[in-house]
């Protein structure tokens, strides 16, 4: 009860504080540069230049503090030892380069990057196109979109049941299917290499819905008459899809692809819940977690974090630039 009260008070102070800030800073600005008198015109212009900074300024400052400080701190720690007490130069990085588990993580990460964005975008596009014209299309879309609402941890748990292999009565869905066809049950999550693919399936299942929603909107944005022109030009449905539709939504496909790529680079929960990186399924984010929180090795953990950041940055940059271009 006390906690609820505390939360309510915090919210009241927060929201009230924001409202007060907007009101007060605006009032001050209007007093300094009043929109009347002989300089009304230039005052309005000046005030308009300053007002955005007053309004978004606090948010920018807070965001910067929460984003930039951790980056600098992580970078600093990656050059320090396990407890961040002594400078160790680049030895954390050279340890990483020699570590077998890190090699495994990089290789798996690469696999994830290759498979998940491609499959999720592909299935998303397929679903978007196929559900477009049918009567129960919207129902189908909701079904495909639904996994988006499940947390990665939840999804991991669900799929762990799918891949489970139990003695006695079988509770693993996949094994039940295999057995129904007369096959032998498997410890799916321990099958080398394939277990990676099975983990990826979970993320594809989640992200295909996202891809579908965005691409479906893009497909609807294609001018109908370009498609009619193509019909008159004699194009068949495949040619229309690949030569007229896909090129027109290429930049959206790019944005979807890169957005999923960034998610993939950060993938952690699914691996943590389902295998915790055992049996050759380690990925970077899980390795970082393992080093940081299980082994309390801040130096090496931070070094992995920096590697992840370096991998994400260029994609992020490309994505933002592309999204901006789209807006213009």
């Amino acid at each position: 009860m006390e906690q609820v009260l505390q939360a309510l008070v915090t919210i009241a102070i927060g929201v009230g504080g924001c409202a007060f800030w907007y009101w007060a800073s605006n009032t001050v600005l209007d007093t300094v540069y009043p929109a009347r008198g002989p300089n009304a015109g230039s005052n309005i212009n000046k005030a308009n230049l300053i007002r955005p900074w007053l309004f978004v300024g606090p948010a920018v400052v807070i965001l910067a503090a929460y984003l930039i400080y951790p980056v600098i701190n992580t970078l600093y720690r990656s050059f320090m030892d396990k407890t961040s007490s002594n400078f160790v130069g680049t030895s954390n990085y050279s340890w990483l380069l020699a570590d077998g588990k890190f090699h495994e993580s990089m290789l798996n990460q690469f696999l994830w990057l290759l498979v998940v964005p491609a499959l999720a975008t592909f299935f998303g596009l397929l679903a978007a196109q196929l559900t477009d014209r049918i009567r129960w299309g919207n129902f189908g879309k909701s079904l495909i979109f639904m996994p988006m609402a499940i947390s990665f941890v939840g999804a991991g748990v669900i799929w762990k049941f799918v891949y489970a292999n139990t003695e006695g009565s079988q509770i693993g869905l996949l094994n039940a299917v295999v057995q129904a066809f007369g096959g032998d049950p498997q410890h799916w999550l321990q099958l080398p290499f394939w277990n990676n693919i099975l983990l990826m399936v979970v993320l594809v299942w989640i992200q295909a819905g996202f891809a579908m929603v965005i691409l479906s909107a893009a497909l609807r944005g294609i001018p109908e008459d370009t498609i009619e022109a193509a019909i008159i030009d004699g194009a068949n449905p495949f040619q229309i899809f690949f030569k007229i539709k896909i090129p027109q939504i290429a930049s959206t496909i790019g944005v979807v692809w890169t957005t999923i790529t960034i998610t993939v680079l950060k993938v952690f929960d699914i691996v943590y819940v389902m295998t915790n990186g055992e049996w050759g399924t380690q990925v970077l984010a899980n390795m970082m977690y393992d080093l940081l929180f299980d082994q309390s090795d801040y130096g090496r953990g931070s070094a992995v974090a920096i590697v992840i950041m370096i991998l994400v940055l260029p994609i992020m940059w490309w994505n933002v630039r592309n999204a901006r271009k789209e807006l213009r």
């Binding site: 001018p223 008459d225 370009t226 009619e228 022109a229 193509a230 019909i231 008159i232 030009d233 004699g234 194009a235 040619q239 030569k243 007229i244 090129p247 027109q248 290429a250």
Partner: protein
């Protein structure tokens, strides 16, 4: 052999019949213009010919072959859309060659066709540009070029000029007229809202009514001089023909009509003795009024004058008539406002309608 024939064509969306009783016989080389009020189904009819809409009933023949169920690409037609519908991701060259590539034509054949079309339309310098780097007029020419390269039997144009500004519209209209001259054997069907386009381009005009089928088919001058019914009479010409209620008083080679306002109008439309007493509507185009000092059929006080430079449009009302009469007088007559005018008209230019139908076509 590109005769195009529509027999009893109908289009229904659910229970709503948008088009019915469409019968048309179009000869090779004609330029047919569809006009009609907004929503009357011009685009729908054109799209049915093109194969983008199904034909609810009736038959469409092109070159003597039934085309109802033939896919658009095999009908020998090409369509130019109002919004150009260029493929935004392809260069002008690729836009024009798309259909030929789909048809698996050889590279040299495609090249020749594109070059020829580009030359006709003066697009050669722009062949490697994307549509977004072209002006509206150039885009429209690319859209036409895309049709030309396919060398179709029938060209379908759906308001191709309506997205262009007034000056460009005139220029492109003339280009289309010249294009038609260069391709005397191609049949063209052209939908427009613009009377001038219809009058200048058409070899024949088809006036469509809302839900009542075709109003009249004829050459531009036929429609202007001898409209079959009040709808066509009012649709062709701007401002519309004035229609005044009256009653036939004298018949013969010339007909005399006593107007509801009390004036007496004479028309060169012949009537028989039995027509005496018939309720008719007298139709006079605004440009057919002439000022007179003698016996005036139409008199009234002017409400509004609109001086357009070469002529002045005057709006006046005569007692007993319901609506306002519009007349065009050559020159500038702003001084007529709130003054009385006395007008008459050449009997040859006075139309008579009974129950909406012209007495010329009995």
């Amino acid at each position: 052999m590109a005769n195009l024939k529509l027999t009893n064509v109908e289009k229904a969306y659910g229970d709503v019949k948008v088009l019915k009783n469409i019968n048309l016989d179009i000869k090779q080389g004609e330029l047919i213009v569809f006009v009609g009020p907004s929503g009357c189904g011009k685009s729908t009819l054109l799209r049915m010919i093109g194969g983008l809409e199904t034909i609810t009933s009736g038959t469409l023949e092109i070159g003597g072959q039934r085309m109802n169920d033939v896919p658009p690409a095999q009908r020998g037609i090409a369509m130019v859309f109002q919004s150009y519908a260029l493929y935004p991701h392809m260069t002008v060259r690729d836009n024009m060659s798309f259909a030929l590539k789909i048809a698996k034509k050889s590279a040299s054949e495609i090249d020749t066709a594109v070059k020829r079309a580009a030359e006709i339309l003066q697009l050669t310098p722009y062949l490697d540009r994307l549509p977004k780097a072209l002006s509206g007029g150039q885009r429209q020419r690319v859209a036409i070029g895309r049709a030309i390269v396919r060398d179709p039997q029938v060209y379908l144009f759906d308001e191709p000029l309506s997205n262009l500004d007034a000056a460009l519209r005139v220029a492109t209209r003339i280009e289309i007229a010249q294009l038609k001259e260069k391709m005397p054997n191609s049949t063209m069907i052209y939908v427009t809202h613009d009377q001038v386009e219809a009058m200048t381009l058409a070899s024949r005009i088809v006036v469509l009514t809302v839900g009542q089928g075709i109003g009249q088919v004829g050459t531009p001058l036929e429609l202007y001089e001898r409209p079959e019914n009040e709808f066509v009479a009012q649709f062709i010409g701007s401002p519309s023909m004035n229609l005044l209620d009256g009653e036939v008083t004298e018949t013969g080679a010339q007909t005399t009509v006593k107007l509801a306002s009390g004036g007496v109008a004479r028309s060169a439309v012949p009537t028989q003795a039995s027509d005496k007493g018939m309720k008719v509507r007298v139709g006079i185009r605004p440009e057919d009024f002439v000022a007179t000092t003698g016996e005036a059929a139409f008199t009234g006080e002017v409400d509004i004058t609109e001086a357009l430079g070469e002529l002045t449009q005057i709006y006046f009302r005569q007692g007993g008539d319901k609506g306002t009469i519009i007349a065009k007088m050559p020159g500038i007559h702003s001084n007529l406002r709130h003054n009385k005018v006395s007008l008459t008209a050449d009997p040859k230019k006075v139309h008579l309608f009974h129950n909406g139908k012209s007495l010329l076509y009995r």
